[in-house]
Structure formats: structure tokens, C-alpha cells
Symmetry: C2
Subunit: 355 residues, 2 copies
């Protein structure tokens, strides 16, 4: 039994994987694999429709928004957002709270002007800047809701005079949000929604059409909306598995229920980190992420032996990102609290051995 704390592509629910495997052999008893049916078939259209409905229901998407399943990951959104929303002579505001935010703003510079309203780069992104003004003449304000690498998370969203664009790749569907607060939300599937290969985009229709730029079909949100995510062949299987994962989430009680579980998992783990004399957290307490729990050993020489102990316990994916070091336990929706307890037990056992 493995306890998968990987940062992404991350853990998926066991029931989802079982059904996802069956569909590869025979999808819904039709005698064909989900991998070899037309995306225009009634069978797949039903999958895509259900996926869109589930996103709307689980996030509480209001009228006037479109839900898209695209390709290319969040990195493609880094470019599509300014391509569609930022006029050449316009300005976009970015909050630089991590490397992904930095990559996003770099792409925006190809299309117009960028104002970085604040950054925590000087502290290696150990906190989220909160003291800044969003320029009212910006085309949009871009934020990253959860910083996977550093383990920080926006606990409250900023009131904004301009549309807010949010990269929610690593905490979408993990907690309640008010979609009406956002102009555009995007998220690579591979943390909390499904496997790698599709990207969720939730977009307020009225923010489109203002950049006055000709945009190739595939990079144009309007084309994708008109095509219902099927302007061209969509990534059938990643969308199917995402749909199964969203079904699983709904059956569990939706975002409200999972948020409680996620909070309980995070609380248990942070409590141990703060209590255990051998470990310490790496970022500002008020910004600690409920998705990616980053910590280091007080004594760097303890890192390797602790990773070895984890390996023996079936705990995988807890090595920290190279730019932070130490450990990172990603505790996405699908990770059961029992796995968190296995990790806590390992930390306690390690402290006992090394005291």
C-alpha cells in the first residue's frame, strides 16, 4: 500500500482508477474502449456534458460564465490569458507569489505591459504579499491561489476593481470559492481534478472581445466556447477521468465536505510539524497551504534518513522541490487522512529514534 503525497500529477481516488481502467477495455459495455471512440459519439458527448455540469454544480458557477476543458496545461493559459485579454497598449497587473506567477507574467509581456503589484521573491516566496494596490486601469489582475512549490495559499481573495484572473491549478475543488469574484479561473487537471492532459477554464463571457487582436482559433477562448471544448478533438480520456473524479467528489458531499477533510488533514500535519522538535515549517503561518505542506529538518543531516524511513513506510512523493529543499507533503482531495496519519507516525518514530 502506497501513500501518495506527490505534488502532481497527484493521487486519484481508488474507485475512480478502477472505473477508469475498466473503460479502457470496454466503455459502458459498448464493446469499444474509451480510447478508440469518436469524440463526436453520443457516448463521449455525454461524458463532456456531465463534466461541465459537475464543474458548474460543484463550484457554483453563475450564469454568464463558460466552462471549458482545454489542452496545454496552465502554462498555455499563461499565454492565452494575455493573448485574449490584454491589448497591446494595455496593462495587466500580476501578483508575484511564486515561480508559476513569475512564468505567467513573463508570458504576458509578449502581449502588452505588465505591472507587478507586489512580490515576495526576496524571501524565496515564503509568504504572500498583501499590501498593494490593484491599478484600476489594468485589463485584469492575475493571482495564483496556491503556490505548490512553497506551500503558501491565499486565504482570502483581494477585492479588485478589475477582473481577477486566477491560476487555481493546485487547489481547485479543495475549498469553497465564489466564482462571481473572478473573471477567469484556470487549472491544470493533474492535482485535484484528474490526470495530466486537460485544463479547466471557467470564464466570464463578458470579459472577452476587448483586446482588439486577431487570435488563432485554438488560442481564442471565443472559438473554444463556440465549439463547446470541441473545436478540435479534445483529450477524451483525461476529460473522462476528470468527470469520474468530479462524480466522486459530488458523492462525497462536494466541495464543502472535502474542505472540512482537507482542513483536518492539514491541521493534523501542521500540528505535528510545530510540535516535533526535528522539523519546522518553511513559510508564514497565516499563508500555510492546505494542499502542499512544506517543511524541513532542523538538522539537514536528518533529511536523507527521514526520506528513507518514508520509503520503508510506503510514503512516496514527499521530497521537497529543489528550490525549497526538505519535504513537501501534498495532501490533495483524494489523499485519505489515514495516509496523513502514517506520515505523522513516521515523523514521531523518527523523532523518537533521533532524540
Amino acid at each position: 500500500m502506497k501513500h501518495n503525497f506527490g505534488a502532481g500529477p497527484g493521487i486519484l481516488p481508488h474507485e475512480v482508477l478502477k472505473q477508469a481502467a475498466e473503460a479502457v477495455v470496454d466503455f459502458n459495455g459498448i464493446g469499444l474502449s474509451i480510447l478508440e471512440i469518436s469524440h463526436r459519439s453520443a457516448e463521449f458527448e455525454a461524458v463532456l456534458d456531465e463534466a461541465v455540469r459537475l464543474v458548474k454544480e460543484l463550484l457554483g458557477v453563475p450564469e454568464g460564465y463558460s466552462v471549458l476543458f482545454l489542452q496545454g496545461g496552465a502554462s498555455t493559459q499563461f499565454a492565452m490569458v494575455p493573448y485574449n485579454l490584454l491589448p497591446e497598449t494595455g496593462k495587466a497587473a500580476y501578483l508575484e507569489s511564486g515561480v508559476w506567477a513569475n512564468k505567467a507574467l513573463k508570458e504576458a509581456k509578449y502581449f502588452g505591459n505588465v505591472e507587478v503589484v507586489a512580490t515576495s521573491k526576496e524571501s524565496n516566496f515564503t509568504y504572500i504579499p498583501k499590501d498593494f494596490t490593484i491599478p484600476a486601469d489594468a485589463s485584469y489582475f492575475h493571482i495564483t491561489s496556491n503556490n505548490t512549490i512553497y506551500g503558501t495559499q491565499l486565504k482570502q481573495f483581494f477585492p479588485s476593481p478589475v477582473p481577477v484572473v486566477c491560476d487555481m491549478s493546485s487547489d481547485i475543488f479543495s475549498r469553497k470559492i465564489n466564482v462571481a469574484d473572478f473573471g477567469l479561473i484556470y487549472a491544470g487537471a493533474q492535482k485535484n481534478m484528474g490526470p495530466a492532459g486537460t485544463t479547466l477554464v471557467v470564464i466570464k463571457d463578458e470579459i472577452l472581445g476587448k483586446a482588439d487582436r486577431k487570435i488563432p482559433a485554438m488560442f481564442n477562448y471565443q472559438t473554444q466556447i463556440e465549439g463547446g471544448s470541441m473545436y478540435n478533438t479534445p483529450p477524451v480520456y483525461p476529460i473522462y477521468v476528470s468527470m469520474l473524479t468530479l462524480r466522486w467528489l459530488k458523492a462525497k458531499g462536494g466541495v464543502e465536505a472535502i474542505e472540512k477533510e482537507n482542513r483536518a488533514k492539514a491541521d493534523a500535519l501542521y500540528t505535528e510539524i510545530d510540535r516535533n522538535p526535528l522539523f519546522k515549517g518553511v513559510c508564514a503561518k497565516e499563508d500555510r497551504s492546505d494542499m502542499n505542506v512544506c517543511f524541513v529538518a532542523e538538522n539537514p543531516e536528518h533529511e536523507k534518513p527521514f526520506l528513507k524511513l518514508c520509503d520503508e513506510k510506503g510514503i512516496v512523493g514527499v521530497k521537497g522541490h529543489r528550490s525549497v529543499g526538505g519535504f513537501r507533503a501534498s495532501i490533495y482531495n483524494a489523499l485519505p487522512i489515514t495516509s496523513v496519519h502514517v506520515l505523522i507516525d513516521a515523523m514521531q518514530e523518527f523523532a523518537e529514534k533521533n532524540k
Copy 2:
């Protein structure tokens, strides 16, 4: 038992599907699903490496070319090709042999000038134009090797004074080609290589860097080459299943062996179409595709009852594209000749009943 003649996403080998399903539950016995492991894991890196090696081996890719697995389908390549290769004041030459070629050239117009060297639009693309000159001052010459909708296929490639860019989405790996004749080859996976969700790009490195344009990271071939198809999280599962399909092809004897099988399947089916008084082919005989066999009923009233008979025999996916009508039997690599004989038998049975 279904006989899958779908145009794409199309049939995959039975053995591949079996292994692909197992990996969704437990990948290579590591206790985790292929859907929930890091793309940076040794396990997935081995998959991607093998996929690239198999492409090089099966296509005979010479030195100086890069092999990429990207996202977004051929439709994204329609834009990436001119984004990377066509200077704003430059010119690209396109052969308009079908709707996909038309879509490709429309995207190129966003980036520079386009010269359509020839078109068969006036005949609803029932043949491939061959009498034209490729302008020597073009940045590249774009062709579509196989026209899925119309059932036409380029039997010989044109000598060109400029780099040839070829959309091989529907006949890649189906017949021998000389990669050195091309500057860039691209193909959506979902016909002959794997499931929907990844796109193969084979690119001659030296044709890059000449468009003098700033290109966002994800749309820039150079970034993708430097990142080894992992500039961002790649579509793990579509690449994995593509790798399995390429392994299967290699075990069958590679492209040379499958080309013989494909030829035999196509010959058998076209022979029946030409012999059977109830059916007729729709395109120029010399351009007939070995991948997509398009035909119609001599008497339009026979269409529905023949589709009904096909349905009874487990023959699926043979309804023609709406812009051509009639029937289209896609006979991709993974379709066994036994399925072709089931279709031929159905045609003969139908002719017998309706004579």
C-alpha cells in the same frame, strides 16, 4: 465483437488496450497508477524516452531532427507552424487539398502572407492537385499527406525548393516515408499512434530561429525541444498509450510490414467497391487513400438500410463525413484484415438482397 472503422479517435490494438488498462490500476507493479505519478519520475521519463526512441526508429528519423510530444492536436500546429516559421513580411505556400489544409492556411494568415499553390475545392476535394509550382521564396510549403474526410492520399511527395511541412495526422506510421524530405512533420495521435491528447512533431532543428518573432514558451518549438517535451507537465497517459502502440508496431515488423497489410486491406476493399454494382468510390482512383476509404451507394435510398446491416454485423464508424455523405471505412494500422472482410461480406450480402 465490434469492427471499428471510426475515423478517429480510432481503433487501437487489443493488446495495447489490455496493458493500458492494467497501468491505470498499477503501473509496472510500482503500486501506483500511471495516472497519479509525477511526470518527472524515473518511471515516466523511461516511457517518454522509449516513445521518442521508437518514433526515431520506426520513421527512420535522421540526425538533426527533434521529436516532440505536444498537446493541442494538429489544430494547434496549424498556428504554431507559422508562429515559428513564417516572418511577418514573409510568405508561406499551402496546397489546399481539403478542409484541414484550409484551416491550416487560415491560421497562417494571422502571421504572414499565404500563397495557395493549388486547390481542389471546386470539386469538393475529390482529387489532389499535382500541377503547380512551389515558390522558391516561400518560408515553407505546407501539405496534408492524407485527407481523412475525402479519402485522398498523396502517393508521392513533391520535390520542394523550400522546407516541406506536412500534416500526417491520418497516415503517420502507415507507410514508409523519407523524413529527410521534410522540414517538419506533425500528427495528432488519435488515428494511428494512440489516443487523443498528444501530438507528434518531428522537426528539423535548423529550420527554426528564422521568423524573428517573440514567441510565448508553450508555442515555441525551441522551448519544447529544450524541455524535451517536458517544459510543462506533458499528457502522461496519451504518451504512454502511444508508446505502447509504437511498441506493438515494432513487434509487428515496423512500418514496412504494416504498409503491406494496409495495402492489402485497402486493395480488398476498393476491389469490392469497384466490383459491387450498388456502390462506387468518390475520389480520383490514383489518389485513393489506404487509410480512409470513402464510397457512396449508387442509389441514395440504399444508404440507411446498408448502415443498418453494418450495425447488425458489429461494423461501427462507417457513416461518411457530412460534407461527403455515404460511407467512410477508416482502416488504420490496428484494424485487422478480418474486419475488412466482414465489411466486404456485408457489402456482398447487401448486393445479393437488393439485386
